[in-house]
Symmetry: D2
Subunit: 338 residues, 4 copies
């Protein structure tokens, strides 16, 4: 941690800061310049609240050198974490995992048909939303518990682990009972009460990146879950909000090598929400695999134009099968498989 | 609503769409071009799910003409809403309301001292965080219920209505009992379960704009609360996330005239979180008042360098008093007061 | 300057860096931590190329403590620069200067009529585009030299100094002969050849902030002009590009106090381009004055609906007069005038 | 084009607009709603200035349905454009073209060494900056003409066509004489005088996307060059500016399928400037190829830690060779080659 003091900061203030930090077991070195004085602080600075230091009016700037996360940090946990989702392994050098399914569950019949398509195409898990975060209170809000039970039926029939989004701690018991991989949506990435509740769960968590959250904030959200005791976190990039409006969001594939360097957690890509456009899903899926993603989560619907939400970004089962087929060849080039 | 069909969309598809929309009581007009066919749809399109229409592969683009919100819409509710917060009126041509207080409640003694400063300076309400959304699980998470009770003490002593942030529906009963104005923080602006719970509350809600939410999404979040029956919503701009990193966020003051045109709700400005820098608070406060804001919410601490969070952006009570004094003169120029 | 070395950087590399920096007359201090080694570098680091240091694979991160600009730096030039534009003074505690005029010059007659309105309303200078940066090659590109001559006629008749945008070094002689304040548009803020050419000019320059340029990049663009010898630079904020699309750009008024702290240059605000909406111009103008702006540049047209470009954001002369009238009262509250 | 009129727009205004548009040979249809009236306009709207229409105070909103570009439009030019750069073909189903070389030319010796590495690795062209756009006036500005001559030497020796950035129209004759592919940098993407000058050149142009320019603005910049008569434009994505600061910019690979759909021009990717980090270049290169890019432009330096600019993002020749080797296998999976 580097603390830059303002010109003319009184010695008494500088000593107070030094004492305070040394009292926390940290080592402090002073660098004196003509216009600035700078402290270098070394040791375990994870628990130092940089805002508290920056609040001192004699402090110009505080910068972290060490990352503010520990549990998720590759530095302290060099081997890849492989998350086991009801038998499907995600991460490390395991096969690239492709998850498919509808944005919203719309009933048992249509879900089973889609699940069949996902299974036959080579999909490894089934996704489906039962509780839906919708911008408008007047839009379809999801089937709720009934939707979860449809997912369970599909799992029974096709043997695919199921993924669904949890929007409130109050539904966690239901998800712990029925769902194999609990998704935290982009809008709830910093719903800290939800993250804390998941920290006490034993189910693996799929943590989507928030619409405009930095990579560091995203890792810190994983750290919330891990600090609670649940280390089964899979990161999921789904596009960030930028000035560009041609796509719904801007897919940031550079997070794949970055997360692999900074953390030991698996990273999967959601090209459907990132682009909002089914025509772009295949090329972004192949790109993600080439860049080293551990998996994909893709919206699949057998009749996209009748989908109750997000049909515009859904693939039909044959298109989904084609992504897997081409993706497999890409995966093989970089030493993996699907 | 304008629906642009792709070139060569079959007539059968176009008729299916027309029938569907007419079945919802809407009026549809077709415009035929050489390269495109366009439908104009008029009537109450609030409940039309545009994603569902856009999902049709023959549809190129769907654009709303009418706003997707009703309860918050100035068009259907021309007079200003004035929200009564335990006797303090916010909105319309009422006085500009200045809310002050610490980011986090740190104990009864220090809070009472700050509350005294806020009261003497002419502040109209007291803010104070008891449950704190913090990026790091290792940072101070707030005093919880104890902090709420400190706020209650300060209200008893100084007669200031109290404002605090609610992070989870599970704490709503506590807030309904004790808090006068319930704040929804930026990170929870699209925590739809929380919004729905607040829709059933009778307490006024201070709805902060999300870090990267559009004005329309923000109004839709208000619409969630209002659709549930609670029309006492005060909007609060606190800066948006942009590429610029000199300030913590970029304060978007243009929302003041925009919200006044599109909605009938009061709008207040938070210059402390927007800038993250106490040196910028005064000028942004004066600017907000000049632009027509109904209020300000400002962080105040009597010893910012010892504040447990966000000290760098806190004003001392004398600096806060100076903002009110200068702000009052600006308010008088535009026909209001503080 | 703070240089963070990677864990396990060899001593030889660290010594090479130290020697190199000491050879430039800088003082280097080493801070050793368990996981990192950090150098603090003090002295005149303006000419150190941080990218060159960051290129060393053993270096983790380079951060500047001192600002990379000198000529524009308030630290080395504490008193306000007041720029004299053909007798109109801009900056310091001088009157707030309001510049009005059409986006594009459309002919002598209409320009004279607008100039009359600007003059009568109390405007201090006349703006008008003769060379227009247009997104489409098929849109009106401006009247060119003929437009400049219309501006000159208007100056002769109404005594207002004239402001116009220069798009290419090749036209600089024309501008030096005729124009009083040479505008660099947002799209050319980092057209470094243009900035260098202006550094050799004696005419004052109005430097607009680029669409997505940081405050530091903007000051560095001013530094280009000043390093060439021309210290008469007026900064102009005109909105930045963000995710929000309701306004054309997001007006960042916090730059007013920030530039006043970091530099000694005058700062004016362009609410017309920032918002793209005439309905928002008045409130943003008043906000800018309240925040301490040294001036405003506002689009004025006597028949906005027939304007050849940007009519949607133009005020009529009476609306412009009203902004000045209200703005004057705000200016007086903060100890200035218009 | 869809024109939404405000509620209560007088009939006379609506007729005036209709007459005006019909006078331009367009067909206008009126759709009447309770709260809005909407015009649908069909025909060649490329030359309609939407700002002029939006300026009418009775108009609420103007939206284009047809794209505002023609020459670059896939709709009017269905076959892929293949640009011939001194014998190297770019676009269509041609081989993926990999361009390598230093950010800045630093002298003949070092350039020849790098060129040798690029050639041996399988690179198809040599890049090298002679005129450098640098944020600071105190940073190295490039070798100028001397640098161009070094590039010519390298071409003579290794037979690689050369690519260099043009910053000012005044140097166009020099570039036309010596350079094979003239680069327009991100900062000059909307330097319209430069684009117009290039429209009259016969040399192919590499048009980088601006830091925060939309896809449409970028295509319109190509349209400027093409409208002038030069149809040899290669588009180059180099990352956009977002809130995320871990990478220098955010690489937007979705532009690959989007440009392929909307235009017929080749698209290449610059992973070096996009990420600013050599560790991320390989994975982003492979991703780009998998997504269908027609080429890559990569910074290569044989001693990155001594590079005069941007060393941190440069690959060594062996690392560059490895990217080509792996990239070739990815290309073969999707039916191309390198």
């Amino acid at each position: 941690m580097i603390i830059t003091m303002k010109k003319n900061a009184p010695d008494s203030e500088m000593h107070a800061i030094i004492e305070n930090l040394e009292g926390m077991g940290l080592k402090v070195t002073l660098i004196q310049g003509a216009d600035y004085n700078v402290f270098g602080v070394v040791g375990d600075t994870t628990r130092v609240d940089e805002k508290l230091i920056a609040a001192n009016p004699h402090v110009d700037h505080v910068a972290r050198v060490a990352a503010p996360f520990k549990k998720a940090n590759r530095l302290f946990h060099p081997q890849d974490t492989i998350v086991d989702v009801a038998g499907v392994k995600v991460g490390g050098q395991e096969n690239v995992v492709v998850i498919g399914g509808p944005c919203s569950v719309e009933g048992e019949e249509p879900l089973l048909e889609i699940a069949k398509g996902v299974k036959e195409a080579g999909g490894a898990m089934l996704r489906g939303g039962a509780y839906k975060p919708r911008t408008s209170p007047y839009a379809f809000q999801g089937m709720g518990s009934e939707g979860i039970l449809c997912m369970v039926k599909a799992r029974e029939k096709y043997g695919l682990p199921i993924v669904s989004e949890l929007m409130s701690e109050s539904k966690l018991p239901e998800f712990e009972e029925y769902v194999d991989l609990i998704q935290v949506g982009a809008r709830n990435m910093q719903n800290f009460d939800l993250l804390k509740a998941l920290g006490k769960s034993t189910k693996p968590v799929l943590l989507k990146r928030g619409l405009s959250n930095t990579i560091e904030e995203w890792i810190m959200a994983a750290e919330y879950i891990m600090a609670g005791g649940n280390e089964n976190v899979i990161m999921c990039e789904r596009g960030i909000r930028t000035f560009e409006k041609y796509t719904r969001n801007t897919l940031d594939l550079s997070v794949i090598p970055i997360l692999k360097e900074k953390t030991h957690l698996p990273i999967i890509i959601d090209p459907s929400h990132a682009t909002g456009d089914s025509k772009l899903v295949e090329s972004m899926s192949l790109a993600a695999i080439a860049a080293g993603a551990d998996g994909l989560i893709i919206e699949v619907h057998n009749n996209p134009k009748c989908a109750w939400s997000d049909g515009a970004q859904s693939l039909t089962p044959p298109a989904f099968a084609q992504v897997i087929e081409k993706g497999r060849k890409i995966a093989q080039v970089i030493g993996r498989d699907i």
